[in-house]
Symmetry: C2
Subunit: 389 residues, 2 copies
């Protein structure tokens, strides 16, 4: 499945929750499968912090062949014959505003100055993303979505869709998500942001003008994030206290390796893994985008305008729901998903809830767990497709 992203431009100003107005914006979109005649089989996928519109399929190389390692971030979930079967559903991947993967964001040019937006790109919220994407659906002539789905932050956005456009969402699939961030979640975001902002190469967010990139800060931010994506169990199983051989050492002799008594070198495998993740991330991710997206996470809290009453907040939703959580996810624990389930049931909404006993922590929502995928497949085959004309 070769896919090509398409850019949609919107010239009508978008009023944001902050009070700022984005004069115009672009959204980068990929679609998979075919929209049916009555446009009733569309599934919108919302992405999490560091993902994009590239949800499934492969991008093409110069010869039109699938580019190696270019598969979409949810390719195990979405495609022909996959749990969300693109021979049946028309799936839309769209990059959020403020991102660094093609939709309007801090690395784009601010028309008012002719320079990169940088830190001047307006603060965007989950609600703003939904507004921007509602116009995309209008442009595509899609009135009602068969489903909206997403994991983590994408699950929050899915929930927000059901509240902002209750008539346009028939089903909502919310995976490994939460009704808001806890103090600890905000705390981790804040440390990551401080690492970026206090990097001398950050230049108040205008690093592009200075020809620098705050890579040090991004590395630290990603390392912190990565720890919270994995469970303690899976970290112990994958890395434990194993030492990493230095160049030239026999990896087969790893069990015999001695401590090298350094404070700055990589000695443990887990250190090597984290540094690699941090380095890789700092090569492709934009620092201002990191600030914007973590802030959108911090702010999301639909119960806030209802004095913290989530049940009252979710009364607007009309969709049917599937929620999935993972037992070892300590970032967005099953208890957080259960809060959503409870609030929906208090509103007598149709809710399926699946708590998967999986060792992989928050990352589990991206992995190929057969019970998880069977639950999503069954929901799409029987409930979503059953409701489609």
């Amino acid at each position: 499945m070769i896919v090509t992203p398409v850019t949609h431009r919107f010239d009508r100003p978008l009023a944001l929750r902050s009070g700022a107005v984005l004069p115009a914006y672009e959204l980068v979109v990929e679609t998979y499968g075919t929209l049916n005649a009555d446009k009733s089989n569309a599934v919108l996928v919302c992405h999490a912090l560091n993902a994009s519109h590239h949800v499934a399929g492969f991008h093409a190389d110069a010869h039109g062949q699938p580019l190696a390692r270019s598969e979409g971030w949810w390719h195990n979930m979405i495609g022909p014959g996959k749990p969300v079967d693109t021979t049946r559903f028309f799936v839309i991947g769209v990059n959020n505003l403020g991102s660094c993967f093609g939709s309007s964001g801090p690395t784009h040019t601010n028309p008012a100055t002719g320079q990169a937006w940088g830190a001047d790109f307006p603060v965007v919220t989950v609600e703003d993303w939904v507004e921007a994407q509602a116009r995309l659906l209008d442009a595509m002539g899609i009135d009602t979505l068969a489903a909206v789905m997403g994991g983590s932050l994408g699950g929050m956005q899915t929930l927000s869709w059901t509240l902002q456009y209750p008539e346009r969402v028939r089903h909502a699939v919310v995976v490994a998500s939460a009704p808001n961030l806890t103090a600890e979640n905000i705390a981790f975001n804040e440390v990551a942001r401080r690492a970026i902002v206090t990097d001398p190469d950050f230049h108040d967010g205008h690093y592009l003008r200075h020809g620098t990139l705050p890579r040090r800060g991004l590395r630290i931010a990603r390392m912190i994030g990565h720890i919270t994506y994995l469970s303690d169990d899976v970290m112990n199983e994958k890395f434990g206290r194993a030492l990493r051989p230095v160049d030239g050492e026999d990896p087969a002799a790893v069990a015999e390796l001695a401590y090298r008594y350094t404070t700055q070198d990589v000695e443990f495998q887990i250190e090597s893994y984290l540094r690699y993740q941090g380095d890789k991330f700092s090569e492709y991710f934009d620092a201002n985008t990191y600030l914007l997206i973590t802030r959108a996470l911090d702010y999301f809290d639909p119960a806030r305008e209802f004095d913290g009453n989530l049940s009252a907040a979710l009364a607007r939703a009309k969709a049917k729901f599937l929620l999935v959580s993972f037992s070892t996810d300590w970032r967005f624990s099953p208890a957080r998903s259960r809060e959503i389930v409870k609030a929906l049931l208090e509103n007598r909404r149709a809710v399926s809830y699946c708590e998967i006993d999986a060792p992989h922590g928050h990352d589990a929502f991206l992995l190929d767990d057969p019970r998880y995928h069977a639950a999503v497949r069954s929901y799409f085959e029987h409930t979503v497709a059953g409701g489609a004309k």
Copy 2:
């Protein structure tokens, strides 16, 4: 109780686990109470990452009066009439080698160069600390300790005392500790170290020569650490999603505060708290010390030379044990204390174990929980004192 630290100098070279040799060293010590005639009532207290020899009592101001806010870090535990009663026990607080609070460490002068050691201070281990302190006991004429006690890293050191000098320790009190670090524990240490080492003001650890301090890195390190010291529950209870009023705003109207839509300002209370903790820490703590002490934590693993068999590793211990853990401590969870308990019981050692259902996370070991303090008091009154002549 006014106390004055005393410096003990040791001119005999100390061979370290790394193979390096410290030609001479100083240890800063405080004592509380009176050593009895047969020197059988001494209790050694081992400190954790950012603490010192100043365990109890107050330091004096210029008029010989107690200096405000100068109480020792375990003052609720140790003193006259406290759980460890200094009218009965002679308590010794000693600063670890490599620290920045008076004992020989990276901020001291390297006799070989006449400059500050900085990053050249040798890597020290928990075992090295015990060796250094055994000489202190020799100098004080104390052959056998009534007890060694400590929390967190101090608990690891206590455990190590029972293995390195089994004949010199009658009782070991190990609080909120673990037999080694998990991969996740090491991961958090590594991110904190990377934040310090990649701070441009770090200068490969020789910042003192450059007239700088890597404060940015220390702030990030401390913020990360602080998150791991608190439980999710207590963070939600103390801070939750509450917003912080900006200067001039009515704090009484906090519940009415609106989001301000910024990415770099403090908006949530938890952000304010963490930044404050980071700033404070960066004013008094040495970056090289942070690297050394977190590495000592990473390395500690008495089961390592027994192919991971903790029971075999602890066979050497002859002390009687009290272990305490706290239900919401996710840094060193109760399961980690139970590993130690199990290994000791497999060796038919006398072990008391107390698992306190407390909301405060790892920090609980420093707090005044009545059940926790009653358990320690009872152990010292009946078991330790009962064994003293």
